[in-house]
Point group: C2
Chain length 184, copies 2
Amino acid sequence: MPTKSPKKETLLPQLLEIFRTIGYEAASLSKISELTGLGKASLYHHFPKGKQQMVEEVLVFVENWMYENVFFVLRSEDKVENKLEKMCNALHGLYNGGKSACLIGALTYSEILNQSLSKLKNTLEIWAKDLEAVFMEAGKSKEESKDLAEEILITIQGSLIISKAQNKKSVFTRQLQKIKDILN
Amino acid sequence: MPTKSPKKETLLPQLLEIFRTIGYEAASLSKISELTGLGKASLYHHFPKGKQQMVEEVLVFVENWMYENVFFVLRSEDKVENKLEKMCNALHGLYNGGKSACLIGALTYSEILNQSLSKLKNTLEIWAKDLEAVFMEAGKSKEESKDLAEEILITIQGSLIISKAQNKKSVFTRQLQKIKDILN
DNA sequence: GTCTATATAATGATAGAC
DNA sequence: GTCTATCATTATATAGAC
């Protein structure tokens, strides 16, 4: 893995916050410039291909975050009861306890989707597979494991939307708690 | 209720389809013009305040649809076991069996949200209340009814997103079936 | 009610100085 | 690596003919 510039290390989380809050199209370069404190030309220095490159690198950033904080945990040698709890705690941080939206959701309702769809699909599928493995490790059947995994992804995405639409963070945190309790 | 012009009757479903597919900001007037077959000036004739008015009228259109096809059913004198099934069948139509997205989701990840948030929140709350009443009618406790209602909204929103992101309509239809089965 | 033509502002993007 | 200045393009929106 190539060493990233220190600037990008701070830039990518900022861009993630922008894209998942107002979406891809509404995030104009002027707005990005204003919110990051960097001039447009500076942004193009870091991302020569413009917005498209920004969102693609943010997707990689999120993908890496998922590997380090979710997939790593789900694949660890930890006790199976702890895995879901640790995943939920990580997600609580990623989504600011339900305050921040999910990039997947933000991009799903966007034109950019077609171009980045394969990476998105891939991350979701890995997540589903890893969750499925956890449930099988816990003694569930293959079918039930697959089902539970899918339901968890649905619940996370759905509760983030309802949470945001109703402006109630508790909707998200309550669902996280339910996920933690599945194996207890 | 004032009589709508016949033109708008065909225009609003088209606009709904556009907004929920590519989102609010990506739906430029040129694109709307192209997809509806109407010139920009004609669009401004029907919606003098432009895109903002379009999305607001689409929201009313969807709200009315929900009253006629979902809230009406949930409040009817029908047998309680049939209500969820009829709701799911209606939603299957609204979302083209998982192919089409949800306007709520599309607008939640958009800048326009702040202005239309109250109407959106309101519709979601009515939906939740009506569902809650159905479950209480079926003999569930107040607490469990509230919980089930919230879970249904979450599942619908979440499965639509996962369905679209993974390009698998079956994800949505499977969740609809589960909702139908709750009271069986 | 629809159109063509146009005004005006904002967009993504680049050149070149520092 | 950042900036100011600027470009072509596209955006929203309007005027006025039919």
